[in-house]
């Protein structure tokens, strides 16, 4: 779509391990040394519309955080481009925009323990000329108030805050840069439930008032459902399904999405109803040696021969949903053929 605000085009990221000394010597002498790159992200293309929140869901090791870092311009991709409004986020491996900012999972690690939080929040805006040093104090107080903290807290250090308050500081720091796009990498995962609700509410409110576009990364399907307009599901470095939140949760098409949704424990309120889980069998394969074809096929109940051979492409299913699954594609073709024959 031409209206897309953020565009990811063919993003791949591989991490090459450093060769050991022995291997390097062997390579120098012409031996073929086996290097085993980790393919963290493979050929991901996605768009986010202005003002939209896209939830990015997957289990550990699926590459969702790596993708988030690439979008935020923290990591350069091995291949592909990220553009905001047509402008690239990275040029020659360097971030060239302040329009995207990040909120990280762990507010204990993302704030400098030896800096007053006021200085932490002011640092970026001063460096980029968004505010003069003279006006920085008022500017910071304004943002602290905006995220629900007392303006007087500016003089305090991170250790004087609880986890939820620190996450508010981290959000204030990101917002003080006046970004158009916020990358949130598991922003509530390390918080207690009651605090998590406070931060989710803050997030919903800020998004509404400031009209920020957001990439919301989480493993928590409940949280993602609550905050996202659209959802992308990732498995072993690839996007397997993208669609509106309602479509994905009501009628998942990819077998992995379905299995993932089935695995989530639900709040059981009926008497003596011990729910049965439709657990996915097996484990997530190592990204060092992903299976050939569709990477989900060893765990997939629907897998056919094609799945073991070819990587399925992400294809539209007639609506604005995209699914990467051979079996679903075949089902769709069959129904289309029958409809056509019936029309005849």
């Amino acid at each position: 779509m031409s209206t897309a605000f953020l565009t990811l085009d063919g993003i791949s990221k591989r991490f090459d391990p450093r060769l050991t000394l022995g291997d390097r010597i062997a390579a120098r002498f012409g031996a073929t040394v086996e290097d085993r790159p980790v393919r963290a992200v493979t050929e991901v293309s996605l768009t986010i519309n202005p003002g939209e929140t896209l939830g990015l869901v997957g289990e550990s090791g699926c590459g969702k955080s790596t993708l988030g870092r690439i979008v935020a311009g923290i990591l350069p991709p091995t291949a592909g481009t990220v553009t905001i409004d047509g402008e690239p986020v990275l040029q020659n491996g360097r971030k060239v925009t302040t329009r995207v900012q990040t909120v990280f999972q762990d507010p204990f690690a993302s704030l400098d323990p030896r800096m007053r939080i006021g200085d932490t929040v002011a640092e970026g805006p001063i460096a980029h000329g968004l505010v003069t040093k003279a006006n920085a104090v008022d500017y910071v107080r304004g943002w602290l108030q905006r995220v629900g903290l007392e303006p007087e807290f500016a003089g305090r250090y991170p250790h004087q805050f609880s986890g939820g308050q620190r996450q508010r500081v981290a959000i204030a720091r990101a917002l003080a840069m006046q970004p158009d796009l916020l990358v949130c990498d598991e922003p509530v995962a390390s918080l207690d439930v009651s605090i998590q609700a406070q931060i989710i509410n803050l997030f919903l409110e800020l998004r509404r008032d400031l009209g920020i576009t957001c990439l919301f990364i989480s493993h928590d399907l409940g949280v993602v459902r609550h905050v996202s307009d659209r959802v992308a599901i990732m498995y072993l470095g690839r996007i397997v399904e993208v669609g509106s939140t309602e479509q994905i949760y009501r009628d998942p098409k990819h077998p992995y999405t379905r299995a993932l949704l089935d695995s989530v424990p639900r709040l059981v309120l009926e008497d003596d109803a011990l729910v049965e889980f439709n657990a996915i069998t097996g484990e997530i394969p190592s990204p060092l040696a992903p299976p050939p074809g569709c990477t989900f096929h060893p765990r997939c109940p629907l897998a056919v021969d094609a799945c073991r051979r070819d990587v399925p492409a992400l294809m539209a299913d007639g609506t604005d949903r995209l699914v990467a699954c051979h079996v679903r594609a075949m089902e769709r073709n069959n129904t289309e053929t029958t409809t056509r024959e019936n029309d005849r």
Binding site: E59, S60, S162, G164, Q165, D192, V193, S194, I195, Q196, A197, Q198, I200, N201, L204, E205, H219, L221, G222, V223, R225, H226, V227, T245, A259, L260, D262, S263, V264, P265, R266, L267, V268, L269, E270, D271, D272, A273, L274, V275, E276, F277, N278, A279, I280, T281, E283, I284
Partner: protein, 323 residues
């Protein structure tokens, strides 16, 4: 009716730190029947893990059980000499931790540590112990168990490691297993497998479980009874479905309302204001009062436990029961 498997009365575990006395567990009482699964929920600092550790006498200084009684199968555990306690641990009561590496020794093969655990309590030959170990590993769903005995913990994935830890806990079919956030560190698909397996194992062998978790949904899918803790105290206790469907304590209600699952997507969640209090500076009376919308002057006096038909709660101003 026979005596309950576990009877905890007025348990108090305090930590004597330089900053003051932290009353991590302060007057917790409950009973657990044989084969029953009890969920213990609360946020960080609520004392749920310390309660679990206290049951096995695993509280390290500066912490100490300062009062109360824990009777397992009629035997008093509080004040029991360490060598007697060690005789019980592993055989009658076992623990599964959030991080399986709390259980596993990284420099021993899984087989070696499992045979050690078996021979600690039973006089069997090494070969017989190894066979037992392989059969327990098979029961927790580890494929090719006999061969995997020679692998080291780092050669297992996170989910498999947790299965090994569970296998070690199950080895002697103890009457009680305390599981402290056993699936929190795992991915949802693996969590679902482990939840399913632990429930089956407990059903087959009649092992009772104390399932400690911050996740109400997980607890609601495994536990028959649920206890909600706040700031070292039990605030509500009863059959899981009753407590979660129709909570009487405002804190339980607040926890449920905080879950995105209970709200319409995109809508503001009903949140509990404020933060969990520091255990060093607890407010007088009900510790939840400063965050509670229903609080009144009466709440400066600690409420007693009240009991309705099926459950206990601790509040001067309980929520009305739904019809």
């Amino acid at each position: 009716m026979s005596a309950p498997l576990l009877e905890v009365r007025d348990l108090r575990t305090h930590f004597f730190t330089r900053a003051g006395v932290v009353k991590a567990v302060d007057g917790v009482s409950f009973t657990l029947e044989r084969g029953q699964v009890l969920g213990l929920v609360g946020e960080s600092g609520s004392g749920k893990s310390v309660t679990g550790f206290s049951l096995l006498g695993l509280v390290d200084p500066p912490g100490r059980i300062v009062g109360g009684s824990i009777r397992l199968d009629g035997e008093e555990l509080v004040g029991m000499p360490l060598d007697e306690l060690r005789r019980l641990r592993g055989r009658q009561i076992a623990m599964v931790f959030q991080d399986p590496m709390m259980t596993l020794n990284p420099v021993l093969t899984v087989g070696a540590q499992m045979t050690l655990a078996i021979r600690a309590h039973e006089k069997v030959t090494g070969v017989a112990a190894r066979e037992r170990a392989a059969s327990v590993l098979t029961r927790v769903g580890i494929p090719d168990a006999a061969a995997r005995l020679d692998a080291y913990p780092h050669e297992f994935s996170g989910g498999m490691r947790q299965r090994v830890a569970i296998a070690i806990a199950m080895t002697h079919s103890p009457g009680l297993i305390v599981a402290d956030e056993p699936t929190t560190a795992l991915d949802v698909s693996i969590q679902a497998q482990i939840l399913h397996e632990m429930r089956e194992l407990s059903r087959e062998s009649g092992t009772a479980l104390v399932w400690i978790s911050h996740d109400l949904a997980t607890v609601s899918s495994v536990a028959e009874r649920i206890m909600v803790m706040y700031a070292g105290r039990l605030v509500e206790e009863g059959p899981t479905s009753t407590v979660l469907r129709d909570p009487r304590h405002p804190y339980t209600r607040g926890l449920l309302d905080s879950l995105p699952a209970t709200a319409r997507p995109g809508q503001e969640l009903r949140q509990v204001p404020g933060n969990t209090p520091s255990l060093l500076a607890l407010p007088p009376g009900c510790p939840f009062a400063p965050r509670c919308v229903r609080a009144s002057e009466r709440c400066v006096v600690d409420p007693e436990h009240s009991v309705d038909a099926v459950r206990a709660f601790r509040c001067h101003h309980p929520l009305e029961r739904a019809a």
